[in-house]
């Protein structure tokens, strides 16, 4: 096994410096990996026979020599830093509001240059196809006429916005900011689990995690050629600017629901990093189809809005009239072309579970290319062959209602009782169009620091794609990690955390 020899070790500090090969530590046997279990899922760090992969060798060498106390100290320093920066969300219980940090794990997740190349090409291809698809269904509806997708799936979707029909969108870019969730199959292939085309969040954690991991492992970081991600806010700014013809002299604002929103830190962070105004609905007003902010010196025109509120709340005159977050008249100003909104309204129609299943076909249809990144295998119960397969294999599949999210209207076959499966089968048979099924998904595992050692935890990967005049992926991602042993739930509301993602330059 090849170990890194660090030319420069001054950053390490403390007595635990070992230049040259460290001990050989085997997962499941030697500390700090004594409780590291390798199972069926793909492991990011170790091969099946327990050897560290080449991309992890430097990190492994460092970990095998680092005292757990020292790791604990660094972990605490990092949590302290998050708390002080205010990277927190609020939990309400017993009438008391407690602030918690979003848990972060020190150990980076490493993605090789070759893997990233495929992800980058795959997601670029995917966002092109999805934007062409959105332009199509809000204009001619060619894809529906050609029978690639059933009409009812689009026109019946609660995320389809009739108000957007025929409205030109700059560069045909409906989705300007996309965060797609990728997972690794048992064979190590990255596949797409979900596209987030509405208001994806998490990019500020990607950047905050980088600060933390770089400080925790400075020499390893330096020795590995990790690609930088710090220019994300600049790229975002360029993307937003490209939406208007005035490029330079353009006034941009980030529209937030306000300080009580769980992603408020991110909204403020992005506004600060881009050097643009952070506004709430109450700061904006529309007159004669022009959007203004109210400033101390008077009204100031706004040209581009990066909105972090859902379609439904953007404009109470057009969408939900009980929304206090949005701006009355905003949609008409948008329709008049006086303000650009990113993402465009109505993008949610393209990221629901049923349309997801069609994305590979959409790529072939619009681009005449084979998808570079596959979907998780998905059976559409509306197709008779798939329906038969699903009903015959209910004990092996996860069945989901397409219109629901957050685990509602869902059957996890292997964990359900015979009776539950039979009941669910009836539901599916009576309304097959409403259901899809997928095999039980295994997420890959990655080394995660748990206090008294390093164990394997399940992770996913959310890269962020920017799409305006050009398409840009900053070489990094949010790696979400299920901190509970064995858990597959990476959501921060349910015990998930995150960690830095190192994309290597070669």
């Amino acid at each position: 096994m090849q170990h890194e020899v660090f030319a420069n070790t001054e950053d390490f500090g403390g007595p635990d410096i070992v230049a040259g090969p460290g001990r050989i530590c085997r997962p499941g046997m030697d500390p700090p990996y004594a409780n590291y279990s390798l199972g069926k899922p793909y492991d990011e760090m170790f091969t099946r026979d327990g050897k560290p992969r080449l991309s992890y060798a430097a990190l492994d060498s460092r970990l095998s020599t680092l005292q757990l106390d020292e790791l604990n100290r660094r972990q605490q320093a990092c949590e302290q830093s998050f708390l002080h920066q205010g990277i927190t969300f609020t939990v309400y219980s017993d009438n008391r509001a407690t602030e918690r940090i979003i848990p972060t794990d020190l150990l980076p997740r490493i993605v090789t240059a070759r893997e990233w190349d495929r992800i980058e090409r795959g997601l670029t291809q995917r966002i092109h196809a999805l934007n062409l698809f959105l332009r199509d269904i809000y204009n001619d509806g060619r894809v529906l006429k050609d029978g690639v997708l059933p009409r009812s799936m689009i026109y019946g979707s609660k995320h389809y916005r009739r108000e957007m029909r025929g409205l030109p969108v700059p560069h045909g870019a409906y989705v300007n900011i996309c965060g797609s969730d990728l997972i690794r199959t048992e064979t190590g292939e990255f596949v797409v689990l979900e596209d987030n085309l509405r208001v994806p969040s998490g990019v500020s954690y990607m950047l905050a995690n980088r600060d933390v991991a770089r400080r925790a492992f400075p020499a390893v970081f330096r020795s590995m050629g990790v690609r930088p991600i710090e220019h994300y806010p600049l790229e975002l700014l360029a993307t937003l600017r490209s939406l208007t013809p005035f490029h330079e002299d353009v006034s941009i604002a980030v529209l937030t629901p306000g300080v009580y929103n769980s992603a408020y830190f991110e909204h403020a962070f992005l506004a600060r990093q881009m050097g643009v105004e952070l506004v709430e609905g109450r700061d904006l007003l529309v007159n004669d189809n022009v959007v203004y902010t109210r400033t101390t010196s008077g009204l100031k025109r706004i040209d581009v809005i990066y909105r972090r509120i859902d379609d439904d709340f953007v404009d109470p005159l057009i969408f939900r009239d009980d929304s206090a977050l949005g701006v009355p008249g905003l949609f008409n100003a948008y329709r008049a072309g006086n303000v650009m909104i990113a993402n465009a309204l109505g993008t949610g129609v393209a990221d629901d579970k049923a349309v997801y299943a069609y994305v590979p076909r959409l790529i072939r249809y619009y681009l005449a290319e084979e998808p570079i990144l596959e979907n998780v295998e998905t059976y559409l119960c509306r197709e008779p062959k798939s329906l038969a397969h699903v009903l015959a294999n209910l004990d092996k599949l996860v069945v989901k209602a397409v219109g629901e999210s957050g685990g509602y209207g869902m059957l996890v076959g292997p964990h359900a009782s015979q009776k539950e499966r039979e009941d669910f089968a009836e539901k599916v048979k009576s309304d097959p169009e409403n259901y899809i099924a997928q095999p039980t998904i295994q997420l890959s595992t990655a080394p995660t620091f748990v206090g008294n050692g390093i164990e394997a935890r399940h992770v996913d990967l959310r890269p962020f794609i920017l799409h305006g005049a050009e398409t840009t992926l900053v070489p990094g991602a949010l790696t979400r990690v299920a901190l509970k042993r064995g858990s597959l739930v990476v959501n921060s509301s349910q015990g998930g955390g995150s960690k830095d993602t190192w994309v290597l330059s070669q």
Binding site: H84, F265, L285, N287, R294, T296, G298
Partner: protein, 314 residues
Amino acid sequence: MLSRVADSLYWMSRYIERAEHTARLIAVKLDSMVEQTPEDASASWARVIAALTGEKVVPLSHMDAFAITRALAFDRENENSLITSLALARDNARQVREALSNEVWENLNRLYLRMAPVTMDSIWVHTPARLFREALEEMHALEGVTYSTLSHGEGWYFLELGRHIERVQQLGRLLDIHFAAAESENGPKYFDWLVLLKFCTAFEPYTKRYTASIRPQKIAEFLLFDTEFPHSICFSVDRMTDALARVAPGAPPARRAAVERLAGRLKAAVDFGQVDELMSGGVAAFIADITKQCEQIHKALYSAYITYGAETVL
């Protein structure tokens, strides 16, 4: 600058100033009470409570320092307590993260997170004043960090406005209570006048100016009219008028005029005030007038730059 941002900066700064004033009064009082008779200490506590809450307080024969400190410092139900002021300052700061430097936010956030879990029992066993002195040090650091990491543009001047309007009000109330009590039977004694100077971080600057001879009239003159000492009414009014001239640079002249007229009037009142005219009861009337003018400026500031109707500018 967004009107909402100006509003939050202004209030953030007012609450920090209020917190600092509260912490200083408590720290000085806890330190000084040991040198007083129970009666004098009680009368003095009553003045501190009145100064911080704006309520009339009749001194009891034995005031419970533990309970008073708890109420003034840590009672979240008390809208004037130290912890409430810090929490509100931080809430306002959080609303305008993008208008503050990282250093300003982190200093304020750290201070709040440090004070939030503190219990009376944990500080009372040792030197209770120490915690408040440390809080003061951190607030001074915050002030320095604000000065040196934030651009001295419009936002900074809204911070200045908040700080000095609040300071005039707090200082005014504190002086008012002391000078009103001067006439009464259990009024401030020599030691209380000394403590008053310490409440305003004014002891040393005062002695440099007037020697250690502590006389109420000189104290009034110093804290009302000194042009160089940062905790005098005159100094704060100076800063306020300066800041008012610099905010909302693009606002139409008509809207600016209303605010600047009021500021000019206040400045004249302070610049031409004479302490000999104020003794024997005149301090109260003078302070009442200054406080009222500050309230008018606050209202004019809001209607000119923050809550103005959009229809008036379209």
